[in-house]
């Protein structure tokens, strides 16, 4: 794709498409990947609240799958997950394994 020439630039470098960062997929940054174990999930939504990258989809008040397009693999969700009866609902697994 031909890069923009000077004539095609927005005046004053103002970005007019709100949330356009969503076109930039940060999932490739990961070295570890969170895996959701629904049987141990109490749907507390802590993982959703603490995720710095909004990589956990929630629908009708319930968490769904990870959005691996954006998840950077920080592991905060796994760390904070209370799990059920001592078993976490999120475990970190090395990418590519």
């Amino acid at each position: 794709m031909k890069p923009k020439g000077w004539r095609e630039l927005p005046p004053g470098s103002v970005v007019t498409e709100p949330g356009s960062a969503a076109r930039f997929k940060t999932g490739s940054w990961r070295t570890f990947k969170p895996v959701w174990v629904p049987e141990h999930c109490i749907q507390c939504l802590f993982c959703w609240m603490y995720c710095p990258d909004m990589a956990i989809k929630v629908k009708d008040g319930k968490r769904e799958a990870f959005d691996y397009d954006y998840c950077k693999g920080c592991g905060i969700c796994a760390r904070e997950c209370p799990g059920k009866k001592g078993q976490k609902a999120i475990i970190m697994v090395e990418e590519g394994k």
Binding site: K4, G5, W6, L9, P11, G12, S13, V14, V15, P18
Partner: protein
């Protein structure tokens, strides 16, 4: 119906700002510009303008607040001098780069150190590469007229750049002159309503101002700025033509005073031009073909026009009221560039005068014109650059 008044330059500029009726004004005091903001604050207190006044805690915050307010979507002003302009220096580039039509009277005052509160052009000259449009004013009438026109130039949809209107500190800002005001409704009709572009306050269409731009696109953005600036002269002339129709006063990109057949010429800005014109008249009366060129639009500089205006001149002296130490004064370098465009090569010399408010007297103009006359008649250039009026 014009209103004839006797007012100072600051008063006249403040009145123009009142007629423009901006939405927001950021104000911080500094001699000799303080009075503009003081008067304006009086207008606010008496309900004569709709302006929200932000009494900021520094000039850096003044220009920062202007950027925020302008991006928010309305007409914005401030005013300053010297150290105040120097303090807001980094934000000036941002205002221009973000394409925000802020209008700012600049009451020209020397830069420290040593600290000096009087007129010279070091402040405005230091800001010449900021991307702001610069209009320079010989007297209070020009300062008033330029301020009104500044809004039209800044807010023009093809331009949308900040504009500073320069006038000499104390000499013009504080001295009373006879001048003519436009009636309020005339001035308002001329200035018109403000049209926002990408206002922050339009929450339905969120925009982001000030992204990080890396080496892949920064240069392209600057190319755009150059292109926009290159289109300013035409707008300045269009606005001046419209202004002439309502005021009877004619403005161009510069003033050519007796230059048509001039063989020697001074190039000089602001109030000292007034003094020098009298001396030019005296030389003309003695049969010497003297002339004077007074730039009005300094940024973007009208190189070709100036080159054409100086085409008959054999010896030119550029009078700078600012210096680039160890080299030539700032306006000298502009004129040298202009003269290169036509290929002709008059002798070109540079004099630095009036720094820190040092008076520029008719005898100084006389001394320079005499020197130019000698050079034009085949004499050699004694020195290319000299300070005049200095205690030896």
């Amino acid at each position: 119906m014009a209103k004839v008044v006797a007012v100072t330059g600051n008063e006249a500029v403040a009145n123009a700002l009142r007629q423009a009726n901006p939405d927001v004004c950021a104000a911080y005091p500094i001699t000799p510009a303080t009075d503009i903001m003081q008067r304006f604050s009086g207008y606010v207190a008496d309900g004569l303008v709709k302006t929200e006044l932000i009494l900021v805690e520094s000039e850096h915050s003044a220009m920062s607040a202007c950027v925020g307010a302008s991006a928010a979507g309305g007409r914005v002003i401030t005013a300053t001098s010297s150290q105040g302009l120097a303090l807001m220096w980094e934000i000036l580039f941002i205002a221009a780069g973000d394409r925000l039509p802020i209008v700012m009277p600049l009451v020209n005052r020397a830069l420290s150190a040593p600290i000096n509160i009087h007129a010279d052009h070091s402040d405005g000259m230091g800001a010449r590469d900021t991307g702001w449009v610069q209009l320079w004013s010989e007297n209070a009438q020009e300062a008033y007229d330029n301020t009104l026109q500044a809004f039209r130039i800044a807010e023009h949809m093809d331009i949308r750049l900040p504009v500073m209107v320069c006038l000499d500190g104390f000499i013009i800002s504080h001295c009373i002159e006879r001048l003519e005001y436009l009636e309020d409704d005339e001035a308002r009709r001329f200035i018109g309503e403000y049209t926002p572009l990408h206002p922050l306050l339009d929450v339905e269409h969120p925009v982001s101002y000030g992204p990080l731009i890396l080496s892949d696109l920064y240069m392209e953005y600057k190319r755009v700025q150059h292109e926009v600036m290159a289109g300013v002269s035409k707008i300045v002339l269009d606005v001046a033509a419209e202004f002439e129709r309502i005021s009877g006063r004619k403005y161009g990109l510069f003033e050519s005073y007796r230059l048509d057949d001039a063989e020697i010429a001074l190039v000089i800005l602001n109030s000292a031009a007034g003094t020098a014109k009298d001396t030019v008249d005296e030389f003309r009366a003695r049969g010497i073909k003297a002339g004077l060129l007074k730039p009005r639009l300094f940024r973007p500089f009208p190189y070709q026009g100036v080159a054409d205006a100086l085409k008959t001149v054999k010896a030119v002296c550029v009078m700078d009221r600012a210096d680039s130490f160890g080299g030539f004064g700032p306006m000298h370098m502009e004129i040298a560039s202009a003269l290169m465009m036509n290929g002709g090569k008059p002798a070109l010399i540079n004099k630095i005068y009036g720094l820190g408010g040092r008076d520029f007297l008719p005898e100084h103009a006389e001394h320079v014109l005499s020197e130019l006359n000698d050079i034009a008649k085949g004499g050699k250039v004694r020195t290319f650059k000299e300070y005049i009026g200095v205690k030896e």
